[in-house]
């Protein structure tokens, strides 16, 4: 009986907030290496710090996304069996996280960039995800006339499992022995894996919009469904834009190019419509969820512009392999995914505080992220020009010339650490009280 009263979604969200803090902590250390290259070289080094940072950030997003689904469907969670499965799922995740983090400290690697870890740890994650799929399906089959967010959640859950399994095809020599096919599959996986968790998070954004505006319109109108299918289409076929320079088949590159050009458009439209439809009282009542969703809206706009430009091959050749790609990855991870997750945490934890302190943190977060994003783009553009220059200096000299950008990037990262960690601590404390 006690188990039934326990909010399993909250457990996932609190765990994800802890992973966010860990990811920020490792991120700062990794950023320092860009300024002082021999910092911690013999202890951890970039070789460990990068996966520590990346994996922690991915855990934040995936566990957060899981927590959002469990919270979103909590009215249908009535059986003890669902709780037990969810709890086993959580334990498997904790087991995998401890194993993965420990293996990085022991320099035990073996996976594929960019979510890389010894493949043994993929097993508990895969089992946890299968349990999640079982639980998810048993819950949504109780819902009639699925709104778009349930379709998006289902897509995210299913495709994560598919692409996560596909991520380990390299174990078979048949794939590994053919370098170009192997790389093609690697970047197919990376593109679709991100698309999968984006489906869950954008689904959550629609769920929150329905909740904040107190209507069923946002999650059921035709634009929402058009947006969903466009997103799904992109998840499946737009990954080719990662590998324009790889000597793979032309049709893969062209499909990636054409599909990428259709991206994101409807998402802006739907958020714009939603903003116009809710009144001041509702905005005030759901103060921070509303503000974070609106912040995500602006970051969607900035990153959409960047993504479309980067998907044009003639421009991609300047940005490929540069920090512009990092800026895009960070911009979407922090600007969109993190903003949606923070909005969800404020909403699900029922945090109504509108204090000045929280507002200062909110603006510190937005300004730090903007400076962070601009400094990475600045470094990336300089590297892009170097890449195509006929009179190239050495790689180390080029990296040395980017140092001012990296200093700004590290300080902006510190701002992100302070703002996001403060939000995480405040939200964890709120979760404890409720």
């Amino acid at each position: 009986m006690k188990l039934i009263k326990f909010n399993i979604g909250k457990l996932f969200l609190v765990t994800s907030l802890c992973m966010l803090m860990l990811g920020l902590f490792f991120g700062i250390f990794a950023a320092i290496i860009y300024i002082f290259p021999d910092f911690m070289k013999l202890q951890l080094g970039f070789v460990s710090l990068r996966p520590l940072h990346v994996s922690s950030a991915i855990f934040w997003i995936i566990l957060g996304a899981t927590g959002c689904i469990y919270n979103g469907l909590k009215q249908y969670i009535t059986e003890a069996r669902t709780y037990k499965i969810a709890l086993i799922q959580w334990i498997l995740w904790i087991f995998a996280i401890i194993g993965i983090v420990t293996s990085y400290f022991n320099k035990d690697f073996g996976g594929r960039e960019y979510w890389e870890f010894n493949p043994i740890w993929a097993l508990p994650i895969a089992i946890a995800w299968i349990l999640f799929l079982v639980n998810f399906y048993s819950l949504v089959k109780k819902v009639k006339d699925w709104p778009v967010y349930i379709w998006m959640w289902l897509t995210g859950v299913l495709f994560f499992l598919f692409t996560f399994s596909e991520n380990y095809l390299w174990i078979f020599p048949y794939f590994r022995e053919h370098f170009i096919t192997d790389m093609t599959i690697q970047w197919k996986v990376n593109g679709s894996l991100v698309g999968s968790w984006n489906q869950i998070l954008y689904g959550t954004a629609f769920f929150l919009m329905d909740k904040i505006s107190n209507s069923k319109n946002t999650g059921t109108n035709k634009f929402a469904f058009a947006m969903y299918f466009l997103g799904l289409f992109n998840l499946m076929f737009n990954w080719g834009h990662h590998i324009y320079t790889l000597p793979t088949e032309n049709y893969i590159r062209y499909i990636g190019y054409i599909v990428s050009m259709t991206e994101w458009v409807f998402f802006i439209k739907i958020i714009y419509d939603w903003r116009a439809s809710i009144n001041a009282i509702q905005k005030n009542y759901h103060y921070f969820p509303y503000r974070f969703i609106m912040a995500a809206d602006i970051w969607v706009f900035l990153n959409m512009g960047q993504a479309i430009l980067m998907s044009i091959p003639a421009i991609n050749i300047y940005t490929h392999g540069t920090h512009v790609t990092v800026a895009h990855a960070m911009g979407t991870t922090i600007g969109i995914n993190t903003m949606i997750l923070l909005a969800a945490c404020f909403e699900f934890f029922n945090k109504k505080d509108k204090s000045k302190y929280l507002n200062y943190l909110f603006w510190l977060l937005q300004i730090s992220l903007l400076v962070f994003w601009l400094s990475l783009n600045g470094a990336g553009i300089q590297k892009g020009i170097w890449q195509l220059s006929n009179h190239q200096e050495s790689y180390s000299k080029m990296m040395e010339s980017l140092r001012p950008d990296f200093i700004v990037f590290a300080f902006a990262g510190l701002g992100l650490l302070i703002a996001l960690s403060s939000f995480a601590i405040i939200l964890i404390n709120t979760a404890k009280k409720t």
């Binding site: 021999d38 070789v47 096919t181 109108n221 035709k222 320079t245 890449q387 790689y395």
Partner: protein, 172 residues
């Protein structure tokens, strides 16, 4: 009344017609779309599956390259992963951002196999020294030979075609 005509009317009338238009569309949508999301989902998933399988079957049509031993190169790929070389280095500009791209390091006249062996053993200002066994080192070199044989990663060797796509220059 068409949507275009409505655009010429006053703002208030436009707003009303806009609402009616959307309500009608939504009503039609609910009447006709009852099973559509499911159908669309399955059609797209099927296309994705066919596309994925077509990629998985590619190795069957690839001719073997005599410049490297493919079994050893595939083992060398595991060495590359075991030491997490990808966290700092790139292949075809995909990977980490701290060190240079290594796709064609083997055929680079100023670097080559000997330099790779020396750098891995001794390290550099920011790269630690890696204690690879002789066998691991040989496998890694074989892997880098396979990346080198697969094509050129230098972005200066591309030109832009009439569709805005980048293509390898034929001289490269």
């Amino acid at each position: 009344m068409s949507y275009e005509i409505a655009m010429c009317l006053s703002e208030q009338t436009q707003m009303r017609i806009h609402c009616i238009y959307h309500m009608t569309i939504e009503k039609q949508y609910y009447l006709h779309m009852k099973f559509k999301p499911k159908h669309m989902f399955f059609i797209l998933s099927l296309c994705f599956l066919i596309y994925s399988i077509s990629i998985y079957l590619k190795p069957l049509s690839i001719k073997e390259d005599s410049k490297f031993n493919k079994e050893k190169a595939s083992e060398g790929r595991l060495v590359w992963q075991a030491y997490n070389c990808q966290s700092c280095h790139q292949l075809y500009s995909l990977g980490g951002y701290l060190g240079p791209d290594l796709t064609n390091i083997i055929s680079n006249p100023s670097k080559g196999e000997k330099t790779v062996r020396a750098l891995v053993k001794s390290g550099t200002k920011q790269m630690p020294a890696f204690n690879l066994t002789d066998n691991e080192m040989n496998l890694l070199i074989e892997f880098l030979k396979s990346t080198d044989a697969s094509g050129k990663s230098d972005l200066r060797s591309f030109s832009i075609d009439k569709f805005g796509m980048i293509e390898k220059n034929e001289t490269n």
